[in-house]
């Protein structure tokens, strides 16, 4: 079978991988690069646990061929915090008790980040719509919605304060 040599930009680093054409970004992240923060479940774009950012937009890594990502910017959950400093969304999730088993959370955080990057002053309805593609079997969603609202406020504060949030 043919193999493709791909140059993938993930969390700001370049990775050279050799892979079969049918392998998804999710396969390569988890199995080749050991980036297991991106979860795997339905493999049919239904549950959202595999959500990553591709050129800044939330996408399901389970239905995206790795080959389609060559030369584009991928951000996974491993790239959200800046060193030891959590992203405001991560901090808000912890502070609001929005995490139970945690399985859905990497996808939730990245879907929420893409949404807040587009709309810095969201409503709760807007947040629920933005996270409709992310299933959570534990929390009942309310605390997740609360956390995203709080993070949006925190991000607006840091921007207004000239803090210059430069997260990827």
């Amino acid at each position: 079978m043919s193999r493709l040599a791909l140059s993938l930009r993930i969390n700001g680093e370049t990775h050279e991988v050799l892979t079969a054409p049918h392998r998804t970004l999710l396969d390569v992240l988890r199995d080749d690069l050991g980036l297991t923060g991106t979860k795997e479940n339905c493999l049919e774009a239904e549950c959202g646990v595999c959500t990553v950012l591709l050129d800044g937009r939330a996408v399901n890594a389970c239905i995206l061929l790795a080959a389609q990502c060559a030369g584009r910017e991928v951000v996974t959950i491993e790239g959200l915090a800046r060193g030891a400093e959590l992203h405001p969304l991560q901090r808000a999730f912890v502070e609001h008790g929005a995490v139970q088993c945690g399985y859905c959370i990497p996808g939730m955080l990245l879907a929420a980040k893409a949404y807040l990057d587009e709309d810095g002053a969201p409503t709760e309805d807007g947040i629920r719509e933005a996270l409709a593609g992310n299933l959570c079997r534990c929390t009942g969603y309310q605390k997740i919605a609360d956390a995203v609202l709080a993070a949006a406020a925190a991000l607006r504060g840091s921007r207004a304060g000239g803090g210059g949030c430069t997260h990827p």
């Binding site: 079978m1 043919s2 079969a20 049919e44 937009r57 399901n60 995206l64 061929l65 719509e129 593609g133």
Partner: protein
């Protein structure tokens, strides 16, 4: 899944590869239908032709007639300022396709070529009398969308032909559109029934000049409810007339029973949603009747 992967960088190259591989090749846009069908073993192309590097097909041109490039995403439709007024049903249809992750990558062209009878944007395009343009080695041809859809998952596209654009005219004055979807939950759900409508009234806003009513998930293809349309044209749009259109549409659709709903329930939904969509159009136009 096992296939050769290709990444054409121009329309001409995509068309040449399409022609070379014919039935053995598949174009890949957002992959939200294709990759899943491949993983389920429903289709097994030997060549996958990803379109993400082909420039120019992701544009919405809105000077005079409107042209949607085949690679325009549902998210782009949802956010297009030109579709806020009379063409609002495009936004209403696009914004219920899956969640953000789906809409960020899934394309209007994919929705059309996949030809699911339950597709949500297709019925809206049908109310706009849209045409589709396909490009093959023998050149370009433009067909009415209605004739393009020939069965569930079936279109008049020839093997290897690239869908390049979907076109429709702007609506005349005193026109409006509406789209309604019934699913088992509000988001991330295939339509049990969806309905799109377009009304154009006379300048006095008293009588209906033109009506389009299209129905999804109640026939082998997205369908026009022609008897219901005829019952509106030339008449003042009283509530009784709109309800009559609902009854006619329920009569002319051909639903089946499946895991999502019974045929009987689907007919009831059509009878309810058609007048509701028409009322919405009437309110959006304002005045008269």
């Amino acid at each position: 899944m096992s296939f050769e992967y290709h990444e054409p960088a121009a329309v001409a190259e995509a068309v040449a590869l399409g022609a070379r591989f014919g039935e053995a090749g598949r174009f890949l846009a957002g992959g939200t239908d294709l990759i899943i069908q491949m993983r389920r073993g429903k289709v097994a192309p030997r060549h996958v032709l990803s379109l993400h590097r082909v420039p120019g097909l992701d544009r919405i041109e809105a000077n005079g007639a409107i042209t949607l490039g085949a690679l325009v995403t549902h998210r782009a439709v949802e956010r297009c300022a030109d579709f806020q007024g009379p063409l609002g049903a495009l936004v209403e249809g696009a914004r219920v396709v899956g969640g953000h992750q789906i809409r960020n990558v899934a394309t209007v062209g994919g929705n059309v070529v996949n030809a699911s009878p339950a597709a949500d944007v297709v019925p809206v395009l049908l109310t706009l009398d849209a045409t589709v343009t396909c490009l093959g080695p023998d050149g370009e041809r433009t067909l009415p969308l209605e004739g393009f859809l020939t069965g569930p998952g079936q279109t008049a596209r020839r093997p290897g032909e690239l869908l390049t654009a979907i076109r429709f005219e702007r609506l005349p004055p005193a026109s409006a559109t509406a789209f309604l979807k019934a699913g088992r939950r509000r988001a991330m759900e295939i339509s049990v029934v969806c309905v799109a409508a377009r009304l154009t009234l006379d300048p006095a806003r008293e009588r209906c000049l033109a009506a389009r009513i299209t129905l999804g998930a109640v026939a082998p293809t997205t369908m026009r409810a022609r008897a219901a349309e005829r019952a509106l044209e030339g008449r003042p749009l009283t509530d009784d007339v709109l309800r009559e259109a609902g009854r006619l549409a329920a009569g002319e659709c051909r639903p089946i029973s499946d895991v999502r709903a019974s045929a009987r329930y689907r007919r009831l939904l059509v009878e309810t949603l058609v007048p509701r969509a028409l009322r919405r159009c009437r309110e959006r136009i304002g005045g008269g009747a």
